[in-house]
């Protein structure tokens, strides 16, 4: 068996950073990254981007050396992706914040509203309902992060946690301030409006959860995928969450409706989880009749549409027989 030699150069300066000899032909990029870390411990594998061309795309961890278009002496270019943080950490932090922050406003902790309102309780039922809904939503997200989702990639750049937390925590505080304000005005159409909106919210929460579970059951245990973009990646079938992502077959499956009626939305959209998520927030906005909530829904919708379009495009690229009726996020429209 012929061994390979691998030299790793800095993509910007072309400086020779590392030379590996006697590399097995069937070694993966992941294994090469591990070897590289030995000589440069500050660049742990999650931070490394290795490519065949200094300006080219990053090679994937599962790529096998032998299968790359290289001679027996392979030249790889290295780019530092910067400090990385695990997806799980980011998600837990960005979701725990709104849960906690909203409650500070709900309980009217001192220094938010006038002192005469400290620790008082709203006399409007809808305000208590809103607190339950908002809290439920983020508890659901935290539990899904821990027990349902499986994140391909594993890490993201550290600066994302600041950006993401600012978004989630900032909006949570802004919404919570008005809903729990002593001068809050309940919805114009009263209990009718609240009931309808609550129904929309609950249905969409169930729908969103159903989709997450359906995605999780799509693939047999032990496989993993590279997600597109920065959104929630595919969910693994395994019940063990923290198994390392095993390289293996990259076969994806097209998601289809299951017996659960909530999953029937797959007939019409590629990313029904996002559809249901927007629906939940629209429900919450109608329920609280609060403009900041509507604005938050709009911003979230914009971002999720971008993600949905990306996912939809990658489905179309990957599957010749992808159902033509499906739209990315809104049935028939978007």
């Amino acid at each position: 068996m012929k061994h390979y030699e691998v030299e790793i150069l800095d993509a910007k300066t072309r400086e020779k950073l590392c030379f590996l000899d006697k590399v097995e032909p069937h070694a993966t990029i992941a294994e090469i990254k591990n070897l590289f870390t030995k000589t440069h411990p500050q660049w742990y594998p999650a931070r490394q981007s290795l490519r065949l061309d200094p300006k080219g795309k990053s090679l994937k961890d599962e790529d096998v050396l032998q299968k790359l278009p290289v001679g027996t002496t392979a030249t790889l270019y290295f780019r530092d992706l910067g400090a990385q943080i695990s997806w799980v950490t980011v998600f837990l932090t960005e979701y725990a914040g709104p849960l906690f922050i909203y409650l500070l406003f709900y309980f009217r902790v001192p220094f938010i509203y006038g002192h005469k309102y400290d620790f008082t309780s709203s006399r409007h039922t809808v305000v208590h309902l809103a607190c339950i809904c908002h809290s439920f939503h983020y508890v659901k997200r935290l539990l899904e992060t821990l027990f349902v989702h499986r994140f391909s990639h594993g890490t993201m750049p550290l600066r994302n946690i600041f950006k993401n937390c600012t978004y989630y925590w900032g909006f949570a505080a802004w919404m919570a301030y008005y809903i729990n304000h002593p001068l809050y005005t309940p919805p114009t159409y009263g209990a009718q409006q609240v009931k309808l909106a609550l129904a929309i919210f609950v249905i969409c929460q169930l729908g969103n959860f159903s989709i997450h579970m359906a995605l999780r059951d799509l693939r047999p245990a032990g496989e993993c995928l590279q997600g597109a973009g920065g959104q929630l990646g595919w969910v693994r079938g395994s019940d063990f969450l923290f198994l390392p992502c095993l390289p293996g077959s990259k076969t994806r499956k097209i998601p289809y409706p299951t017996k659960n009626p909530f999953t029937w939305l797959f007939l019409l959209v590629s990313c029904p989880n996002y559809t249901y998520e927007v629906g939940s927030w629209i429900g919450f906005a109608i329920m609280t009749q609060c403009l900041p909530v509507a604005l938050f829904s709009l911003v979230g919708f914009t971002q999720m549409t971008i993600w949905a379009k990306g996912k939809h495009r990658s489905y179309l690229k990957e599957f010749r027989d992808y159902p033509p009726l499906r739209m990315p996020i809104i049935p028939f429209l978007l």
């Binding site: 008005y178 001068l183 809050y184 005005t185 403009l291 900041p292």
Partner: protein
């Protein structure tokens, strides 16, 4: 012009500048009549006018492939004075508008209202003024960096002529 690929300016930086100018003109100077006689308005109008005359001459001549060195020099040098001049005019104008905004409750909405929303334009203007602190140095030093790149590049070219 950057977004149509006609000139090589960054869309983000240019949009920023355009938005800030539109804001100063419409949301401050036009909206608060009392500041229209302030000297600070004259200050930023002069700064912007001179800047734009030079900038667009620069773009025009560049597109015609006949750029006199004087115009290039002016574009990448005069900003050193014009930029702080413009920023001073802008900040002083916003500052002058504050009491009138407060008094008239301009563009502000308070609780209670049926959309459960509030906006204090006075506080917003103060936030805008504060935002100049991180933003202005970045833009200014970006231009200084560009100046070094562009004017030294010309020096080298001149050697081969």
């Amino acid at each position: 012009m950057g977004e149509w690929g006609i000139v090589p300016s960054s869309v983000v930086l240019t949009s920023f500048q355009v938005m800030s100018r539109v804001f100063l003109i419409w949301a401050v100077t036009h909206s608060v009549k009392e500041v229209q006689t302030e000297d600070s308005v004259l200050l930023f109008v002069i700064a912007w006018t001179i800047t734009e005359i030079i900038r667009y001459s620069f773009y025009t001549f560049s597109l015609l492939n006949h750029l006199p060195y004087l115009i290039k020099w002016a574009r990448y040098t005069l900003f050193i004075v014009l930029y702080p001049m413009g920023v001073s005019g802008e900040l002083l104008t916003i500052y002058a508008a504050l009491p009138f905004v407060r008094q008239a409750g301009l563009y502000s909405i308070s609780l209670p209202n049926k959309y459960n929303f509030s906006f204090d334009y006075y506080a917003f203007l103060i936030l805008i003024m504060i935002s100049y602190i991180p933003i202005f140095p970045q833009l200014y030093f970006h231009m200084i960096h560009q100046r070094r790149k562009v004017l030294s590049h010309t020096e080298e070219h001149k050697k081969f002529e």
